[in-house]
Amino acid sequence: MIIAVPVDEMEENSPVCISFGRAPFYLIFDDEEKKFDYFDNNSAFNAQGGAGIKAAQSLVDRNVDIVITFRCGENASKVLNGKAKIYKAEKVNAKMNIEMFIAGNLQLLNKVSPGLHGHSVQGEK
């Protein structure tokens, strides 16, 4: 199982980034190898639009199963849909959030934020 957390800094104790799409980095934890890894979310961070879609695509490409985040937009959740489950982050650092998830203490994110420009209001294919 692969767990991903948007983070402000490239370290395990980083706070969880408040943004899903425009997080500077992602912390990746492989549950089987017990190994932390990171990737630079540069391409989504600097995107003019569609940052959430881009970030979600990067997670899907890395076969992520679980995403722990404070919020997630409707477009990004459509990309993740069926591939990764989204859990709501708590206000502790990234590593502790992962530990809480493994202990079964995180809730599924049940609220999806509408797009900034109301993009997601329209019916998408």
């Binding site: 879609i53 695509q57 490409d61 591939k83 997601s120 329209q122």
Partner: protein, 281 residues
């Protein structure tokens, strides 16, 4: 001559100024580029001559041919595509119809299919052509409709372009073909703030421009003092006026029912023309 009428803030009187400019002179047509809420024709009540659909191209994916190589997703500047396994996901409202996805696809798995996003109405009112762009409800990108409206401009005639509010893509597109920008500014904090954004835009686009102040309580106001300080021409100032408001609310064109207003708009046009001629030198 092609004059773009813009404002920054909405509701400052772009349509009021545009419609009356058209109505005050011969040989002049009206182009409504405020495609999210076109309302100039409420005043002209033009006779409909023709309706043209506006279509954009959206990608369509052939799952059989796609080998999930990811190139289209990476090439999309707007992040309108996602690839999940072998399934393509298109976010239509983000797609700018640039066609790069089908261009880069080596498998020829992407074709482009037209989708109507708006309509252009061409009408006639007196000797003026009245062209109205209308974006379909729920569509996010007005630029294709605007560019369709401006393609109908007649080189032998004068054009007044009623722009959308703001200073974003749609306004840039609307001013693209203009010789001159007329900024209608409302002397409130909000109006002043957005006026300065449009002023910057006119400078970036290197268009000659001047200002008309509308809905003012006095000739000396927040906009006029800024213009004085920065050597920007204020060509006219319309004070709050019950008669204008009433005529406007009834859908009357002020210059049709009020000779003084007509004289005023004729001189405004002369001033614009003089200023434009000077800028060419």
């Amino acid at each position: 001559m092609k004059i773009a009428v813009l404002s920054g803030k909405g509701g400052t009187g772009k349509t009021f100024v545009s419609v009356n400019l058209v109505n005050s002179t011969e040989n002049t047509d009206y182009y409504d580029c405020d495609v999210e809420e076109p309302n100039g024709d409420l005043f002209f009540q033009s006779k409909l001559i023709q309706e043209l659909p506006v279509k954009v191209l959206l990608p369509s994916f052939d799952k059989e041919k796609c080998n999930a190589c990811h190139e289209c997703v990476d090439a999309c500047s707007f992040n309108a595509l996602a690839l999940i396994g072998k399934d393509m996901l298109l976010f239509e409202s983000i797609c700018h119809s640039c066609g790069v996805c089908s261009f880069v696809c080596k498998q020829k798995a992407i074709s482009e299919v037209p989708k109507q996003t708006g309509v252009i109405k061409i009408g006639k009112a007196g000797d003026s052509k009245v062209v109205t762009g209308k974006l379909n409800m729920g569509e996010a990108i007005g630029v294709p409709v605007i560019s369709g409206v401006l393609d109908l401009m007649d080189e032998d005639r004068n054009s007044i372009i009623d722009c959308p509010p703001g200073s974003a893509c749609s306004v840039v597109e609307s001013t693209q073909k203009a010789d001159y920008c007329l900024i209608v500014a409302e002397p409130t904090s909000f109006g002043f703030h957005n006026f300065k954004m449009v002023e910057q835009l006119a400078r970036v686009l290197k268009k000659p421009f001047a200002v008309v102040v509308n809905k003012a309580e006095s000739k000396n106001n927040i906009v006029s003092s800024y213009c004085k300080k920065n050597k920007i021409k204020v060509l006219d100032t319309f004070l709050f006026n019950r008669k204008i408001a009433q005529d406007n609310s009834r859908g009357e064109i002020c210059t049709s029912v009020d000779d003084k207003m007509k004289a005023r708009f004729i001189s405004l046009l002369d001033n614009i023309n003089d200023d434009w001629q000077r800028s060419l030198k």
